[in-house]
Symmetry: C2
Subunit: 540 residues, 2 copies
Amino acid sequence: MAHFINAKADAVTDAIDGTIAASGGILTRLDGYPHIKVVMRADWDRGRVALVSGGGSGHEPAHAGFVGRGMLTAAVCGDIFASPSVDAVLAGILAVTGDAGCLLIVKNYTGDRLNFGLAAERARAFGRKVAMVIVDDDVALPHLAQARGVAGTLLVHKIAGALAEEGVDLNAIEAEANRVIAATRSIGMSLDTCTIPGSPKEDRIPPGKAELGLGIHGEAGVEQVAYSDAATAMAAVTAKLADGMGDSDHVALLNNLGGLSDLEMAVLSRELMRSDLAGRLSMLVGPAALMTSLDMRGFSVTVMALGDGDADRLATGTGTSAWPGAKPMATADVLPLPDGLTPIKPLASDHAPTRAFLIRCCEILLASEADLNALDAKSGDGDTGSTLAHAARALMGAMDTLPLSDHTQLFRALGQELSQTMGGSSGVLLAIFFAAAGDAASSGMTTRDALRAGLARMQQIGGAEIGDRTMVDALAPALDALDDGLTRAAAAARAGADGTAAMARANAGRAAYVNAAQLEGHVDPGAEAVARLFERMVDV
Amino acid sequence: MAHFINAKADAVTDAIDGTIAASGGILTRLDGYPHIKVVMRADWDRGRVALVSGGGSGHEPAHAGFVGRGMLTAAVCGDIFASPSVDAVLAGILAVTGDAGCLLIVKNYTGDRLNFGLAAERARAFGRKVAMVIVDDDVALPHLAQARGVAGTLLVHKIAGALAEEGVDLNAIEAEANRVIAATRSIGMSLDTCTIPGSPKEDRIPPGKAELGLGIHGEAGVEQVAYSDAATAMAAVTAKLADGMGDSDHVALLNNLGGLSDLEMAVLSRELMRSDLAGRLSMLVGPAALMTSLDMRGFSVTVMALGDGDADRLATGTGTSAWPGAKPMATADVLPLPDGLTPIKPLASDHAPTRAFLIRCCEILLASEADLNALDAKSGDGDTGSTLAHAARALMGAMDTLPLSDHTQLFRALGQELSQTMGGSSGVLLAIFFAAAGDAASSGMTTRDALRAGLARMQQIGGAEIGDRTMVDALAPALDALDDGLTRAAAAARAGADGTAAMARANAGRAAYVNAAQLEGHVDPGAEAVARLFERMVDV
């Protein structure tokens, strides 16, 4: 499986450079590539407690995306799924730690604990004040004394970050971070394993199964469970979290492990908010990709019992690129549909000349059914004649319900009728034509000008210009010539329709998808219908 | 391929409900499911120009995620990749349009144009002021008169949204929207097609190929090109955009089509910022999933020539969940590595008793190599003896360089030496032990208390408690008994080490991964080493 990377060995440094380049200048890094990969705030003055986190890469946007005002001061990045070296962590600590000291926020993996731990000792030997907290929010393996650190780490970043921004001292931040860690629990579920760029994919999860309680490095889940749908998947996840979750207010964090579509994450949001936990959730972070496992097609849910002040600390803004904010759980009422969706039927009225004119038009279209179908077969599916004949029959059947004596209302009624009976793009376009003409007529335009306004609107919406091989090629010149009488208009329509036979290229309508050679020599059926309508009117 | 959805028919309404539920109360919808799917601002008072967009679903977060203060007023959502009906659009327009009127922002697809167009006519018949702009930013098909509307639509949403928020009137917003559309161009590239939930996946793009100029509904790209790496992929995309792009300042929008990992998007960010376009880019939106094609493993780049005021309008904050902000292109200098990464070698000094003591310790470890390896073979890879012997040999070789007369410095130097020569987790843990002991000694503690402080730190970092079947089980009781003399300490170490043979469960260290039955009856090799060190000291 190909990935959008360059050389595999450069994937992490390239990604870090991209994150920095796209940060708007808030991020920079230490000059230690490739061994030392430390991303840090460009505006850092060491005036407050520094927060340093990190670990293996492949969890983007964690952790570099959370570096910025109000969250991390620096992120120390290892290679993909590999802990950064002691030297790299030490470089990060020494680069950002001033008199206020530094808190290391470490996910509970042996490599990270050891390397961050030893780096902390080295920094202390230089007289730096360094504390370290270990995040172990994963509840997948309840009997393992050393639970893994997963997406709950972000809540520690955020709350500790808000405290550091306020100027709180190191001991107090460390204590608060440990309180948050104790209150935070996470579990994940995935439909597929992740793909490490340049490595073969492990095909571990069979169709019909999902893994529950998996880690963020492609480690197998605690159990493979039957997968049926999003609702039961979320229920399995929330059941693991519900155990031992108190009744107090909690924040939930809904994390995309990397490969789920936003559509799926939205469906999962719905299920979380309908789950057994819902009554205890008062804030939400996400859904968003926060702590990913490359492209893993899974999600995780984190819950944390809110302590005093946590809600405010979660809600404060940050200068980071990846923190999505924390929102209150709040629902607005669903709103009733507006009036007006059922069009008001105009009052039927009669007007003998108009009735005769419309019937004549319908008869012309009915008589042309076979010819127009034959023409359409050259460029389309051969049904233009039938579509128009169907509309004509429906119109004749509806004649007694139309406001024949009021042309403004009649235009609108014709539009409504055609959009309901004709279907397809042409039905909508003719409906727009008549509706816009009715609109224009109601503002006092002459019938000819109203029809032109209808044509203009139909062209704007349909996108057809003169020369695009559509009915516009006949209708536009006919309306233009109408001032000089119906005979001139009919001649103009005929000339326009015949001209379409020489148009090799169709830019609008269905014929746009047909080979030019197939079109040549054949008149467009829509234009032909318009020409026939005008010509037969002259004959009357 | 399974997806996190429930019934396929409910995927879109479930996703909309999830988006609303996760919006913190800023979104609501009209009560028209399943036919009418309109998401709108919950706080809308019709006081300003309303902005309505939409189209088929499957492009999440577009468009519902961009509803909120400063962007859209409502999003009308169709089924996946299908235009919403005229009634749905009309419902949206009627629900949000007050006296200031409404602008429809429509992507250039026939279905959307027609249905939004006819809905606009219907709304006008109700006396509503409605304008419509059509976004056609795709440059994949330069000869097609009707270019598709893709991710550039977001720039129209944002700039028109900022203007509407300012209270600008409908005509002016329409004109500005059309100016933005004319200045905006996009193109996409993908390594794979998207998967429509519940439908079979089209396997169109062969390995080694990418599609350039593809649409957002799974339509095939204009060409299949050879794919080698992110740099050449981005170069192919930017080459299409460079044509006809003026020299003025542009904003770029880097869009994840849905399935790329954040790591890949970061790499692509780097390539965009190093591309031929870079000199003309002064602002960036993303990288982010903005206008997706479900889970498509591709990206698109949009560029827009900035007009007067556009930069400010792009930069204003919004109340939406999905707009990632627009950042200036700014780079901070890479920072030099801090001093202190190369540890300062302490001044060598001699102290005969200390030298004799250390040599004796090393000799004990060297003599125990085979025994400790044999013990380790019961629970690990059988190299504990060799690892310790290797470290002992190295330490004897370094004896003349150590600060033997200064115990504080000596502890630290031992830590440094062990972390360099011993390797592995035990090397790091012993380095932490000695470094922390040195730290404690430097603050005036007795040697015994300093060693205890070292042990505490090693336990914090390594996570091993008494009873976890590690060297701690011998070391901790020995240090506790040291006040009563070396003999008592040695006895305590021996009792502790022997006790590990009865510990069925290992919670820390490598043996945590080994079956309990395999461990039973065997002393932990680390604990045995500690016991031997104390015992042989007594013998001296």
